[in-house]
């Protein structure tokens, strides 16, 4: 019923490009969100619990 098997015509490519552009915008905006402290704290906790195997000041 729908004409979906038309391959990669220019229309389909344009639609796809537009969709992908928006996907990147969504992903990038999520990527640029400020990170909450909880992750840094969690990693610090885990590191402390594991003991100082090699305490480089990195």
């Amino acid at each position: 019923m729908t004409k979906e098997k038309t391959g990669d015509g220019p229309d389909r490519r344009a639609i796809r490009a537009q969709i992908d552009e928006n996907l990147k915008r969504v992903y990038t905006s999520a990527l640029n969100e400020e990170l909450p402290d909880r992750f840094r704290d969690l990693l610090a906790q885990l590191k402390a619990k594991d003991g100082p195997s090699q305490d480089g000041l990195s």
């Binding site: 019923m1 729908t2 004409k3 979906e4 229309d11 389909r12 344009a14 639609i15 796809r16 537009q18 969709i19 992908d20 928006n22 996907l23 990147k24 915008r25 969504v26 992903y27 990038t28 999520a30 990527l31 969100e33 990170l35 909450p36 909880r38 992750f39 840094r40 969690l42 990693l43 885990l46 590191k47 090699q54 990195s58």
Partner: protein, 195 residues
């Protein structure tokens, strides 16, 4: 005589030191999957914990991001399985009532796109973010999703088609001509409901 280049690191690298650097990407993926920041953060937290305690299972020759993404999506889906029916029902309700049109200039507003994106199933959001936004190859995505490459491609194609339908971009209508087809919208919507 053959010479083999061997890269000897000065000190064995602990992949756990790279976890912090992977968090932003991991979180962006989690937000894309859950569409809810607090749920995403819980998911990232759980992923970090699992990665930390299972770091011996990580092969340093492979991509750490891919490994972490795999943990995150598996955690997400095992949690989702419990509420699966609910989620699908609400998807159906939204899909049936949604009506979004492109701007008059043919460019989608991000809010409109997001509304449509939110209506996709998590599987569709996942595949689109992996291959369409985060820069993983279909092969890498297939590895993370535990499916064949062909499945990744067909799923991504269906997901794009679904989005195009919801956004009334099918076959370029609206996109190039700015057609405001109310009838068309009805047709497309009932076609979409068949999925």
């Amino acid at each position: 005589m053959k010479s083999v280049a061997v890269v000897v690191p000065l000190s064995p690298e602990d992949p756990r030191d790279r976890l912090a650097g992977a968090i932003p990407k991991l979180r962006a993926f989690a937000i894309s999957l859950t569409r809810e920041v607090s749920r995403a953060d819980d998911l990232v937290q759980e992923t970090i914990l699992k990665a930390w305690t299972n770091i011996d299972k990580f092969d340093p020759a492979t991509n750490l991001d891919a490994w972490l993404f795999t943990i995150l999506r598996n955690t997400f889906y095992s949690g989702l399985r419990k509420t699966r029916r609910e989620v699908q029902d609400s998807d159906g309700v939204h899909a049936a009532t949604l009506s979004v049109k492109p701007d008059h200039d043919g460019r989608l507003a991000l809010t409109e796109f997001l509304r449509a994106f939110d209506q996709l199933s998590p599987e569709h959001r996942e595949v689109l973010v992996l291959v369409g936004a985060s820069g993983f190859s279909c092969e890498e995505a297939a590895g993370m999703m535990g499916v064949a490459v062909g499945t990744v491609k067909s799923r991504a194609s269906r997901a794009r088609k679904r989005l195009a339908e919801m956004l009334h971009l099918e076959d370029g209508e609206g996109l190039f001509t700015g057609t405001d087809g109310a009838t068309q919208a009805v047709v497309l919507r009932s076609a979409a409901a068949g999925f």
